[in-house]
């Protein structure tokens, strides 16, 4: 993405602008309170937005890669008629945290690799992402600072940093630029200085509050490669439900299952995809009934290796953004990649 000029807007003007868009019928989705946690909801007013956390239960990937998505409909008569469903609608995703923007950027790469996933890409085309910088940790589980994910790489249209009365705005696309063209003003050297200070304070705070990652980030693939047979996997695995919660809530887990459903008349049917996850026992079950990744530890290892070894090496970036959702969701507290990696590291060094 080509870097565009940053700017400054007053908070009031930006929020009024969004509220006007909502009034005109624009679908704006933002994190809002849900019981003692949060979730993405279509908001009626920007006052509903929960800017600082807690983290939403599931990441914004659900708006690009829905839990259940019909890919095609078909009709089987004398001839077979197929209607592929590639649909998108214009929505604004607002208040997205950097971990989730980075997660989305990684999904963008994956779904555009080799066979273009037109279902994802069509939705992506219509989505406007307005991110918001986190200045306090959203939860005790998050460790984004350790995964170099406190700032977004790319993949946003606008990225806001709270500077008191104003937002400092990084502009990531023409779509973002045109959205705020009427209210944006040029940045001054003092804005830039203020931003640097805010980020320095934030870095110190996150460094103090978030759990440490003992190995170096760039050494994770090596750590995992050399600990493929570590007893840690089965020790953690023995308390794994294989419930797949870690997969479902992960901003970078993108596996899906495809099922065909016929109607009772056996003439019409649809092909639908559903979120799937490598922690689920039948993820590797084949038609003849064999499961070729047996063992809870082996499945847990596979997920961790995907995040910080296989995909890390392939795309040169960790596929764990440190959002902390899996660690929160896991009832037996066995899945958190940072915990696992620290444990591997401690035992490995001995």
């Amino acid at each position: 993405m080509k870097k565009m000029k940053n700017c400054v807007v007053t908070k009031r003007e930006l929020l009024d602008l969004i509220d006007r868009k909502i009034g005109e019928g624009k679908e704006v989705i933002a994190p809002a309170k849900q019981e003692n946690q949060a979730n993405f909801k279509r908001i009626k007013s920007t006052r509903e937005i929960l800017w600082e956390g807690p983290q939403t239960v599931i990441p914004p990937k659900a708006f690009l890669f829905p839990q259940e998505e019909e890919l095609m409909e078909y009709e089987v008569n004398d001839e077979i008629k197929v209607k592929v469903k590639v649909e998108g609608k214009p929505i604004i995703l607002l208040g997205i945290h950097p971990c989730d923007m980075n997660g989305t950027t990684l999904l963008d790469k994956v779904f555009a690799e080799n066979n273009l996933d037109e279902h994802y890409l069509k939705k992506r085309e219509f989505v406007t992402i307005i991110g918001a910088e986190c200045l306090v940790p959203c939860s005790t589980e998050s460790f984004c600072y350790r995964k170099e994910s406190v700032l977004p790489l790319e993949g946003f249209d606008l990225f806001l940093t709270d500077m008191g009365k104003n937002f400092f705005v990084e502009v990531g696309s023409k779509k973002g630029k045109s959205l705020i063209s009427k209210i944006a003003r040029k940045t001054t050297p003092s804005d830039a200085k203020k931003l640097r200070k805010i980020r320095r304070v934030r870095d110190n705070l996150f460094d103090k509050e978030q759990r440490k990652l003992k190995p170096k980030l760039e050494d994770l693939p090596k750590l995992l490669r050399e600990n493929y047979d570590s007893p840690v996997w089965d020790e953690h695995g023995s308390r794994c439900f294989n419930c797949g919660s870690c997969n479902m809530v992960c901003p970078t887990c993108y596996c899906f299952d495809v099922r065909d459903y016929m109607e009772l008349n056996l003439k019409r049917g649809n092909r639908t995809r559903f979120w799937d996850g490598c922690l689920l026992t039948d993820f590797t079950k084949v038609a003849s009934g064999e499961i070729f990744r047996e063992g809870r530890g082996a499945r847990l290892r596979h997920r961790t290796n995907r995040k910080d070894w296989y995909l890390f090496e392939k795309w040169e970036r960790s596929f764990c953004t440190g959002c902390g959702r899996c660690g929160k969701a896991c009832l037996t507290k066995i899945v958190d990649p940072l915990d696992i990696e620290n444990e591997l590291y401690d035992r490995w060094k001995r």
Binding site: R239, E263, L266
Partner: protein, 248 residues
């Protein structure tokens, strides 16, 4: 194509699964167009005996049931267990964990000698079952999809993963994580219900049965951490899954 003949049969149960079929609305007409229903007590007094597919609900709980279900099996090409009672023994099996003479007396009073009731069993304890449509009562959408699969000669898709998947897909706050946590059987129970109970704040009680490889020790550990006693945990099991491990 000739319409396959279908019968619905009930053993010990509330017949709520048959009522679920009757409440399919427009889709019920689709069902009538796709199959020829020859036996369906909740809907018709006609009792045809020439069916190819038998949908069977209820648990086996008298010795007469055993004879009757064997006759159904002998006539039908395909037997489908419908709902938790047929699939798991259901709530009827709670009696199996009580003194049988007490249970009979409590139910039938001084007429108890008239009833030859036996321990409640799922139907696959007596006959070979080809397919299972789980839940208490069955889910309409799953029934329609499973029936279409059976008509196509395919195995219906019934998930083997836990309810947590459905719950996360709904973006629910986990019951264990609410300000006042609620103990839930979701982590060891088969999904497919759309997490219907947790979504309204009620614990999953396991009506779709345990998944094939439930991590029960981990689940019991979590419940104990939440202050539940062994008795509380047993109550969870006995609600729908008291017969696990006893079956076949």
């Amino acid at each position: 194509m000739k319409k396959p003949k279908v019968g619905f049969f009930e053993f010990t149960c509330c017949e709520g699964c048959q009522l679920t079929v009757l409440s399919l609305g427009d889709k019920l007409l689709d069902l009538f167009e796709s199959v020829d229903i020859v036996n369906f007590r909740e809907a018709s007094s006609y009792k045809g005996q020439d069916y190819e597919i038998a949908f069977i609900e209820g648990s086996i709980s008298t010795s007469k049931d055993i004879e009757r279900i064997k006759e159904i099996r002998a006539r039908a090409k395909i037997c489908v267990a419908l709902g938790a009672c047929a699939h798991l023994g259901g709530v009827n099996a709670i009696r199996n964990f009580q003194r049988q003479s007490d249970v009979r007396w409590r139910t039938y009073g001084d007429k108890a000698w008239l009833f030859d009731s036996i321990l409640a069993q799922p139907i696959d304890a007596v006959i070979k079952v080809d397919h299972v449509i789980p839940e208490c009562p069955i889910d309409k959408k799953e029934f329609l999809r499973a029936t279409a699969s059976i008509l196509l000669g395919k195995k219906p898709f019934i998930p083997d993963y836990p309810v947590c998947v459905d719950c996360k897909m709904k973006a629910n706050v986990c019951l264990f994580h609410k300000p006042n946590p609620i103990a839930c059987m979701g982590p060891v129970t088969r999904a497919g219900c759309g997490a219907v109970c947790p979504s309204v704040g009620n614990a999953c009680e396991g009506c779709r049965g345990l998944i094939p490889d439930p991590n029960l020790s981990a689940w019991e550990e979590v419940l104990k951490e939440h202050g539940l006693s062994i008795e509380d945990i047993l109550k969870f099991y006995h609600m729908y899954n008291g017969l696990m491990g006893v079956r076949r």
